[in-house]
């Protein structure tokens, strides 16, 4: 009797849970999982909108082609550079700033307001702003500043090396406030008594940071790194607006290459294959980061 009642109660609970969860689950299946399956399927086909007569099953043809495609390897390399640089810079700057600001009592509110601004702006607008108002030769603020400081007129978006630096700077500019605010919040939540203990132990500021603060906020840092990496890996709009992947292919990360392939050259089969590679990379990176997190 008892057992049966429990089972039916558990069954009711389970039904209730499913009723609440299933609609979202079904929508997720339809909107995310099916398309991804279809993407993978397409990556095994020759599929060019402008040459429909050549469409057909290609097996691993697209992937074989990729192996010999210098532009693909170049974009992969750029993706790695872009992701590592932007995430590292964001975390270092964000952490440094958070450590500085956490000492300030007044004015934190103003800082927060200003830090919100880049975060709420659309990346495409950020890209446009930087391209037209900051980095463009002659009207750009950066150009004017470098000229005034005697550094001449560096061609920010026209020189391959500088363009890469510029897009990394743009991404870092937009998302450092995010890291800053998250870390500021986790610093604020640290218990003050551990510091007191440390002070009694005559630990200096660096030791306190290294042995107390850092271990305590490490979980937050790891999460931030995971988040920022997935976002950096899927960065698109700001780059698209600022350089479009150029000059040449100097800022063409894998994302942009897949886009250009699919929607400029209308070669959707090969574009799909490129996107699949990006997908696999993103998932691997996430898995690695998450398992890293679990170990700690």
């Amino acid at each position: 009797m008892m057992a049966q009642a429990q089972v039916s109660l558990a069954g009711r609970e389970r039904r209730f849970a499913l009723t609440l969860f299933l609609p979202a689950f079904v929508v997720l299946l339809i909107t995310t999982t099916f398309p991804i399956v279809y993407l993978i399927w397409n990556s095994f086909f020759r599929l060019n909108l402008s040459m429909p007569w050549r469409s057909g099953f290609a097996g691993f043809g697209n992937y074989v082609r990729m192996a010999g495609d210098a532009r693909f390897w170049h974009s992969l390399e750029l993706t790695a550079i872009y992701t590592v640089c932007t995430v590292t810079l964001q975390v270092l700057l964000g952490l440094g700033l958070a450590l500085l600001v956490t000492r300030i009592r007044k004015g934190q509110a103003l800082l927060r307001v200003v830090s919100i601004l880049p975060i709420v702006l659309a990346p495409v607008v950020v890209g446009l702003f930087w391209r037209t108002l900051v980095l463009s030769p002659d009207f750009g603020v950066a150009d004017f500043a470098t000229a005034a400081l005697g550094f001449g007129h560096p061609n920010w978006l026209g020189d391959p090396g500088l363009a890469l630096i510029a897009v990394i700077a743009i991404h870092t500019w937009q998302w450092t406030p995010f890291v800053f605010m998250v870390l500021l919040a986790s610093l604020a939540s640290l218990p003050p008594d551990v510091y007191e203990a440390a002070r009694i132990d005559r630990a200096n500021a660096w030791q306190r940071f290294w042995h107390i603060t850092l271990p305590l906020i490490r979980p937050a840092i790891v999460i931030v790194v995971i988040l920022r990496m997935t976002i950096a890996l899927s960065a698109f709009a700001a780059l698209f607006a600022a350089t479009g992947g150029g000059p040449g292919t100097a800022t063409e990360i894998l994302n942009l290459y897949a886009y250009r392939m699919s929607f400029n050259e209308l070669s959707l089969g090969y574009g799909s294959a490129l996107a699949v590679v990006l997908l696999v990379i993103t998932l691997i990176v996430s898995f690695l980061m998450f398992s890293l997190r679990r170990q700690r």
Binding site: E13, A17, L128, S234, L283
Partner: protein
């Protein structure tokens, strides 16, 4: 004592510089939006100039008015927000508090869907939509917007539901109130703050989306993010108008950002701890 004063001064100074770095491009955009084309092109850049409202007038009421795009953005972001919330809140509650079968796996599934690269999603959507005639429709774009808003909203809400004390729920259940009534009368009011935060983020993300809209949108559905891009590529570059259009397009999110500042900070932090993100 003295050392710490110096440190505070240094901290303030560095903070100020960084403030400037963050605020400057936006302020510069604001200034540019009040300049005539001639003043924009002036070299060296002019700081003192005769401000004009004509850029705003043209962008709002001229032949290439941005207002229809504004409407487009509102419909898109609005519909996405409503749908997302309707689906995400119950799902998150189930995930956070109920005896959902295979909970770990489902939770992980939701997390993974959030990490899918947008460019990988847009290609199959493009192919399917072009076949079924859903390109340039609101239903099509809202559907693909769910791919980033729904997982994000579920994860954010889960962390809020987890914060609600179990006792409240148990008390309500002991009170012989049904599961539904408990959810409606006890849990949801408790999660109000979380719902507000999630709502704001979902709206922001949908408003700022670009890639999906540029590929799958068109004449009928063209949000401000895409329209703005056309300001530089279709017409001759009209810097003042571009800046004015950007200001108008971003006004809602900036206002939202300033008004809901505390909520956003909370959302970022909670989301970060639980794995939320945005593109």
């Amino acid at each position: 004592m003295k050392r710490s004063t110096i440190r505070t001064v240094v901290a303030l100074a560095v903070a100020m510089v960084l403030l400037l770095v963050w605020a400057f491009p936006i302020i510069w955009g604001l200034i540019t939006s009040f300049k005539t084309e001639r003043d924009v092109l002036a070299y060296p850049p002019t700081v003192v100039f005769h401000p004009t409202l004509s850029n705003y007038w043209d962008v709002l009421f001229g032949a290439t008015s941005i207002l229809p795009n504004f409407t487009s953005s509102i419909i898109l972001a609005g519909a996405t927000t409503v749908l997302t919330m309707l689906l995400a809140v119950p799902a998150a509650y189930a995930l956070a508090r109920l005896a959902l079968p295979a909970k770990r796996a489902t939770g992980f599934y939701v997390l993974i869907t959030q990490m899918l690269p947008p460019v990988g999603l847009v290609i199959p959507y493009y192919l399917v939509f072009s076949r079924i005639g859903w390109l340039d429709t609101y239903r099509g774009l809202v559907l693909i917007y769910l791919t980033f808003s729904l997982p994000f909203a579920i994860w954010l809400m889960v962390s809020y539901f987890e914060d609600i004390p179990h006792e409240m729920e148990e008390a309500a259940l002991l009170d012989r109130a049904g599961r539904w009534r408990a959810l409606w009368h006890v849990i949801l009011p408790q999660a109000r703050g979380g719902i507000a935060v999630t709502l704001i983020f979902v709206f922001l993300n949908a408003w700022n989306e670009f890639l999906f809209a540029v590929v799958l949108g068109g004449n009928t559905v063209r949000p401000v993010t895409v329209a703005m891009f056309n300001y530089i590529s279709v017409e001759q570059t009209l810097w003042g108008k571009l800046a004015a259009a950007a200001m108008i397009a971003m006004l809602p999110v900036i206002l939202l950002g300033l008004v809901a500042q505390k909520h956003i900070v909370k959302g970022l932090t909670v989301g970060a701890v639980k794995g939320g993100g945005r593109r």
